[in-house]
């Protein structure tokens, strides 16, 4: 199952920070205007304000465009549509470069990608405009170059380490282009103030020192900004991973709990069935013995004897049911060691057949046995004996006098095949699915053979399942039944 991409708090943060960037930019534009006006009036600035104003107008215009785009993004987000309108999509390669690295199993979504591209382009645009502002307001003379640092801090907070270093490099390149261009006369110089060393821009040592310190400043800012942010993100990722792990664990716990409840319900249902099955005969026994004990001695001896005999017979029935319940329980829970003991199927079958042969003879049912030389298999001898005994006993019991029962062991591709076929009363198609239910006896079965626990086929199936075998029953009413069990060699 592919990991569901985490909805990172970072995505939301990134989108929220775009608005924050915009507000900062408005403040910066206002600051530049104030700085220029105050400087002209009180500090004797001699600069030409027109290009500055033009740049401020440009800044304000692009800030407005960013704000509008941002609002559209938020609306889409709130209306629950993904940016592409077609479900979840990962962020593109540019966005992945810009965004802080995630854990190996986490991916940014397209929305985070768009926010990152927006933030990155804004930072790049801001650096360009800031460089232009500096150029038109004294170049190397202007101390406002320190403002570049702010962008690197912002980039460090929002974007990847590599993106931040890239922006630091862009800042240094722009600044270098400006001061070196002015120094070598490639670019015109716009002095800031007549009082502040108007020829400073022509002093290579001063320009070089400024450029060097500026570069150091930007890279240090980039380093500090992204370092702090890396640590925070590491912690955030850890929290997100932890939350996801917890969610998975709680899902697993929930599933296990549900499974347990299902098993528990099945168990209570089974207990209820068993209790109900035992209660019937027990109630009859109790009532019969109660009558024997409590009725006046006027009741004829033979009637008392009849009651006692009935109680005795029914207690035998109870003993039989409890015996078979134990057999069933054992068949369902045998240990792996027991299940993998080597055994000879024919040797397991022999005593079972000898035990049931008198029953067949008494009923005048022909018992035809053929146990081919089947090889040794791994399995539970006692369980397989129970299985054969139940199949054979069913076949004999439900076959009328003069009929025939075939017991056949053979070797097949799938393993050992145990086949029991009779010419008995058969099972109706609609009863077939229920024959493995505990205590189930079809109406026809009850009428043909009054005694029976209805546990035999449950035991057979439990043994087959424990051996990872298969069972199939073909039957036609009035013609007979053929049960085929296949037990893998183990």
């Amino acid at each position: 199952m592919p990991e569901r991409p985490a909805v990172l708090p970072a995505t939301q943060e990134l989108i929220a920070r775009i608005a924050w960037l915009g507000r900062l930019r408005s403040l910066a534009a206002a600051g530049v205007l104030v700085f220029v006006e105050v400087g002209r009036r009180t500090l004797g600035f001699q600069l030409d304000p027109r290009p500055i104003y033009a740049l401020v107008v440009l800044l304000a215009g692009y800030n407005l465009a960013v704000a509008l785009t941002y609002r559209a993004m938020r609306r889409r987000r709130h209306s629950g549509q993904s940016a592409s309108g077609a479900g979840w999509q990962p962020a593109g390669p540019l966005a992945r470069f810009l965004l802080p690295r995630l854990g190996p199993d986490m991916v940014y979504d397209r929305e985070a990608g768009q926010a990152a591209v927006m933030a990155g382009s804004q930072i790049a645009a801001d650096l360009l405009i800031l460089a232009a502002l500096l150029h038109f307001s004294g170049g190397v003379e202007n101390p406002l170059r320190a403002l570049f640092v702010l962008h690197l801090i912002i980039s460090g907070i929002l974007l990847s380490r590599s993106a931040t270093y890239l922006f630091a490099t862009l800042g240094v390149a722009l600044y270098a282009a400006m001061v070196l261009g002015e120094l070598y006369g490639v670019l015109p110089h716009y002095p800031l103030s007549a009082h502040w060393r108007p020829d400073a821009y022509l002093d290579p040592r001063l320009v070089g020192t400024h450029l060097f310190l500026f570069g150091v400043l930007l890279y240090v800012a980039a380093y500090l900004g992204s370092e702090i942010e890396t640590r925070l993100r590491w912690r955030e990722r850890y929290v997100v991973a932890l939350a996801r792990e917890l969610a998975q664990k709680s899902d697993r716990a929930e599933a296990a709990y549900q499974e347990l409840r299902t098993v528990e319900r099945a168990q209570s249902e089974y207990m209820r069935k068993v209790a109900h099955e035992l209660r019937g005969p027990l109630g009859t026994i109790r009532t019969a013995l109660g009558v024997v004990l409590e009725t006046p001695s006027a009741m004829p001896r033979e009637k008392r004897l009849d009651l006692t005999r009935r109680a005795y017979r029914r207690s035998g029935e109870l003993a039989q049911v409890t015996q078979e319940l134990l057999t069933l329980a054992r068949a369902r829970s045998n240990s792996v060691a027991v299940m993998r003991s080597p055994l000879h199927p024919a040797a397991v079958a022999a005593p079972v057949i000898e035990e049931l042969r008198p029953q067949a003879e008494k009923k005048e049912v022909a018992l035809v046995v053929s146990t081919d030389a089947v090889p040794e298999i791994l399995g539970d001898a006692e369980g397989l004996a129970d299985l054969m005994s139940n199949l054979l006993s069913n076949a004999i019991r439900y076959t009328p006098s003069g009929g025939r029962v075939d017991f056949h062991l053979r070797q097949a591709e799938g393993g050992l095949v145990i086949e029991v076929a009779d010419t008995g009363i058969g099972i109706r198609q609609e009863d077939l699915p229920r024959i493995y239910e505990e205590f189930y006896r079809s109406r026809a079965a009850r009428e043909a053979v009054p005694d029976g626990t209805g546990l035999g086929m449950s035991i057979v199936r439990a043994v087959v399942e424990r051996h990872h075998g298969t069972i199939s029953v073909e039957s036609a009413v009035g013609t007979g039944t053929r049960v085929t069990v296949t037990i893998p060699r183990g």
Binding site: H276, T284, R286, T287, A288, T295, R310, A311
Partner: protein, 142 residues
């Protein structure tokens, strides 16, 4: 008079039917029995007992209740009036309330089972005799 009453026992447990028959016959009742729920209505029609003792937990779950409803749905007054005692192990657990003894031998349909009495399983013979006496006494004075 009560000693000559004819009682029909309906229970799938042949042994229980025999045991209870002995007890009731010992008390002087005339006893007939039926072990198949699906044949019970026909048996009632044929035998016209004065009282029916009906088991509810027959092999197919609530077949005993079905017998009761089938009987009561017959148009003749006899099927409406013949008192029924049910044998049950669930009377404290069923959401159906049993018919309260209003003393006039009538019953109301709806949430009440149209029966006149019940005896818990396992059946205590003395309790069954008491209940039969009580129900017959009520229906005969009505």
């Amino acid at each position: 008079m009560a000693a000559r009453a004819k009682v029909l026992l309906v229970d799938d447990d042949e042994d229980l039917v025999q045991v209870l028959s002995l007890v009731l016959e010992d008390r002087g009742y005339q006893v007939v029995s039926e072990t198949r729920a699906e044949a019970a209505v026909a048996t009632v029609d044929r035998e016209r007992p004065d009282l029916i003792v009906q088991d509810v937990m027959m092999p197919d779950a609530t077949e005993g209740f079905h017998v009761v409803w089938h009987l009561r749905q017959r148009p003749e007054a006899y099927f409406h009036d013949v008192p029924i005692i049910i044998l049950t192990a669930i009377h404290q657990k069923t959401p159906l309330r049993f018919y309260p003894d209003s003393g006039d031998g009538t019953y109301r349909a709806g949430e009440f089972l149209p029966i006149q009495g019940f005896v818990d399983k396992p059946v205590d013979p003395a309790r069954l005799l008491e209940e039969i006496d009580r129900v017959l006494a009520v229906t005969r004075t009505a």
